[in-house]
Amino acid sequence: MLESYVPLLIFVLIVLGLVGALVTLSFVLGPSRPSKRKMAPYESGIIPDTPAQRRISVRFYLTAMLFIIFDVEAIFFYPWAVLLRQLKWFGLIEMLVFMGILGIALAHIWRKGGLDWE
């Protein structure tokens, strides 16, 4: 069983080598003539006077939270989908119950405006 993952391991090592080579080349090839102007962040010619890393909207946080909830839901779907032909009506109904409860969650989020981006 685990043997089927060995080619994957070899592939990972080769790809990491390739990526390492690319990054190294990006420093080796090409000139390096730093100047103050060049190293400054490019913000359409306006000289930045505030730090770039500022606080962002709480919306992103909410999106990530909702993503976790539905991602966990999706993870349960895969083994169920693969087995549905064996589980038949029993499998379908138990998943309908699961999806029904999550449907309530989605409806609640929707009604509270959790999916709106103004």
Partner: protein
């Protein structure tokens, strides 16, 4: 072969764990935690738990850690400043570490290692099909309860992120 990979993954997990607590910038701590998660997924794979391996990467590295990243971005460029150290912090922490290792050692003394179960068919163990069969027949109630847990999480997320005085 497997034992070599185990030690590499374990070392990665430990190094990541040390990174989480020792970096001063939150974003580096989060990335160290991602390393821990990926190392853990490799450990799961070494135990033949193939589905758990991808689920670990998809859910923990792909979703939970992204939330952490967003929380860091939400906090802004705050850097942890080492000014409010406790007195005797170094010696105290050394004491606690010693106590922890003592406890771990004591626990490991009582462990009896089980022989691998010969009746398990390793060609299907840990596959999506076998996980599904367990999940949707034997462990049906925990599975259905998970949906309630997710419902609670959804409601909690909505209330946590709404504005002050926003009573929609």
């Amino acid at each position: 072969m497997a034992i070599v990979i185990f030690f590499i993954a374990a070392a990665m997990a430990v190094a990541g764990g040390i990174g989480v607590i020792s970096f001063r910038q939150p974003i580096r701590s989060v990335l160290s935690l991602v390393v821990v998660m990926i190392a853990l997924s490799v450990l799961f794979l070494l135990l033949s738990a193939q589905f758990i391996f991808v689920a670990q990467v998809i859910v923990y590295a792909g979703a939970v850690m992204v939330l952490f990243l967003f929380v860091i971005a939400l906090l802004g460029p705050a850097k942890e400043i080492a000014k409010s150290r406790l007195r005797f912090q170094a010696s105290l922490s050394a004491l606690f570490v010693l106590a922890l290792f003592g406890l771990l050692w004591a626990m490991l003394q009582g462990v009896t290692y089980r022989q691998p179960d010969k009746t398990v068919d390793m060609s299907i163990f840990g596959t999506v099909q076998s996980i599904g069969l367990g999940l949707f027949t034997k462990f049906l109630y925990p599975f259905e309860l998970t949906s309630l847990l997710l419902l609670v999480a959804a409601i909690g997320a909505i209330y946590l992120s709404r504005k002050e005085g926003d009573d929609r």
